[in-house]
């Protein structure tokens, strides 16, 4: 299967600022790929180079195998969904969706059919003669999607597609958007700074920082096995310890001594450099368990790390309980699902535990 979009060693500078630095990736037909990173990481510049609003300085952008060098945006077949939707406010929904068709060489007779087919796809039949100003945010997003998909683009680029919507609506539309993209089999790149958006929409997530690709993989892989501290911190919450490995504890488990003197059982990394190097160890908050019954370690399995601490804060946020526990002067965040359990009060002493396989170890300063 040949790649629909391929970037080979693409670099782009603005003055002395390197916006995109030697980026290469390829996207297969029908794949949804998320480009995730903080603002200024180069993800938007990458999107603009694929769509033709910027040109790479080095490297090449191929769409369906054709080098796009020097092609203006209207000479490429790329569908764009803008963050602000960019609907034409003086045109009706119908006119917006039909706009690209006349320029993309659709037969004039075929246009009405194509438009109603697209509006049917995004469930907006009946809204044909409304203006964008008369639609809700979610409806506008769907019109913009219909307009971008109508021209049968080779690749669809979505720029922060859900960020203009409020939190509740975002959750609903996320699924709808994914199902529409899958229904038309669109090859898609989603550019976003929102971890949940990237992970829920993308088959593959590419994490970018400072213009470079940090890691690429399935959402679960990125979350469970981040290769650097940047990726681990950017995706989800995490409790960090820095320290060194101080010997084996049997069963492939090694003892990790933290800088504040705690001892943690972690899986031995395969890394041959591990000997005396500094490492950072992180435990996801949902992997830390509160032990029932004060001081009774029976609730914890073999080899688990048990830490004593004092509840600093407990907050019931809805489906989750967030517990902040003070352990040797540092705060650990623990997330539990709420199942009607009794909640501690700030100041109580508790014990928490986590397994060696719940520890993620990355090189220091990564």
């Amino acid at each position: 299967m040949t790649a629909v979009v391929e970037l080979n060693h693409v670099t782009k500078r603005f003055g002395s600022f390197v916006a995109v630095d030697d980026v290469s990736f390829a996207i297969a037909k029908g794949q949804i790929v998320s480009l995730l990173g903080p603002s200024g990481c180069g993800k938007t510049t990458t999107l603009r180079m694929i769509s033709g609003f910027d040109d790479p300085e080095e490297g090449e952008v191929l769409i369906s195998g054709v080098n796009m060098k020097g092609k203006r945006p209207y000479e490429r077949n790329v569908g764009l969904l803008f963050q602000d939707y960019a609907l034409f406010p003086h045109m009706t929904v119908n006119q917006n969706v039909a706009y690209g068709l006349k320029y993309r060489g659709f037969d004039a007779k075929a246009i009405p059919g194509r438009v109603s087919q697209m509006l049917d796809l995004v469930k907006l039949t009946g809204f044909e003669s409304r203006r964008p100003g008369q639609l809700s945010g979610g409806q506008q997003q769907r019109v913009a999607l219909a307009r971008a998909l109508a021209i049968s683009p080779e690749v669809v680029l979505l720029d922060e597609p859900l960020s203009a919507l409020d939190a509740k609506l975002r959750q609903e539309l996320r699924l709808e958007l994914k199902e529409i993209l899958n229904a038309v089999g669109a090859t898609t790149i989603v550019v976003t700074h929102d971890q949940e958006e990237a992970m829920s929409l993308g088959d593959i997530v590419i994490v970018m920082n400072d213009g470079r690709i940090m890691q690429k993989g399935a959402p679960t892989e990125i979350y469970a096995a981040p290769k650097t501290k940047f990726v681990a911190e950017f995706i989800g919450r995490s409790n960090w310890f820095s320290g060194r490995f101080a010997g084996a504890a049997g069963n492939g488990v090694a003892r990790f001594e933290t800088s504040e003197g705690l001892s943690i059982n972690a899986l031995k990394p395969d890394d041959p450099r591990m000997a005396d190097d500094d490492f950072e160890l992180c435990v996801r908050p949902e992997r830390i368990n509160r032990l029932e019954g004060n001081g009774n370690p029976s609730g914890a399995g073999e080899g688990q790390t048990i830490l004593k601490g004092q509840v600093r804060d407990i907050a019931h946020l809805g489906s989750d309980i967030h517990l902040v526990v003070n352990v040797s002067g540092r705060s650990l965040v623990v997330i539990e699902q709420y199942h009607g359990q009794t909640l501690e009060h700030a100041g109580e002493e508790i014990e928490v535990a986590f397994r060696p396989e719940d520890c993620i170890v990355v090189p220091a300063n990564s």
Binding site: S51, G52, F53, R72, P73, Y74, V78, G79, L80, F82, Q83, D84, A86, L87, F88, P89, H90, Y99, G100, Y103, R104, R147, A148, I151
Partner: protein, 273 residues
Amino acid sequence: MRRWFDDIGYAVILFVIAVTVLFLIAPIVVSVMMSFDGRAYLGKFPPPNYSWHWYQNFFSDTFYLGGLKTSLILAVIATLVSTTAGVSAAIVLDRYEFRGKQALEALFLSPLVVPAVVIGFALLLFFALLGVFDGFTRLMGAHIIITFPYTVRTTLAGLVGIRKTLTEAAMSLGATEMQAFWDVTFPLARTGIVAGAVFAFAFSMDDVAVSLFLTSPDTYTLPVAMVSMMRTNFDLTIAAAAVVLMVFTFALILVLDWIIGLERLIGKGVFRS
């Protein structure tokens, strides 16, 4: 006790406003009433009786009518030319970043900064240098130059609100940059462009400082006619002329208000002076 300072503060402000209102309204009201004065001479205010006879004088005086005709022709042509040039200039200023953009912007708006008498005198010299002594041609050039900044400003104000992503969206859908302009930018900037045209028209109609330098004995504008009548033959026909000119301007402003709303105009600072 502290509240008392608040209350006296309001009182002072309200007094200032009341005085200002009086001085803004009263002269205009007096002039309008005097223009309907039924007496045949310039008498005391208020007029004892009212009639249209100063207006009849105005509309039967070939000197005034000559000025009105020249003013209208000048205003129409100046509006057309400066709107075309102003829109082109505004598009370039809005869309592109280039060296010297700031200088160009300052230059386009310079007729707003240079005193009107300086522009008038400079054009007088410049046209003499070019060998142009025809009054109408000189006035035409001058009115285009002094109305141009208004069309640039209002078009720019209209363009500023149009998101760049709209043009990009059109281009991603297959339109060239020019097609995107005509399909998307132009319809959305239309109110700003119309406002600029109306202001250009009104400003051309009302100018006196620049026109004074460039009139010839047989080509003069209505405001210039009023000034010279004030010196040579002062009577209330000038009041009628003033009301005619004011009604003209107000009608234009009302049209504009109806099209885009006065508040937006004030807010965008496109109000002519």
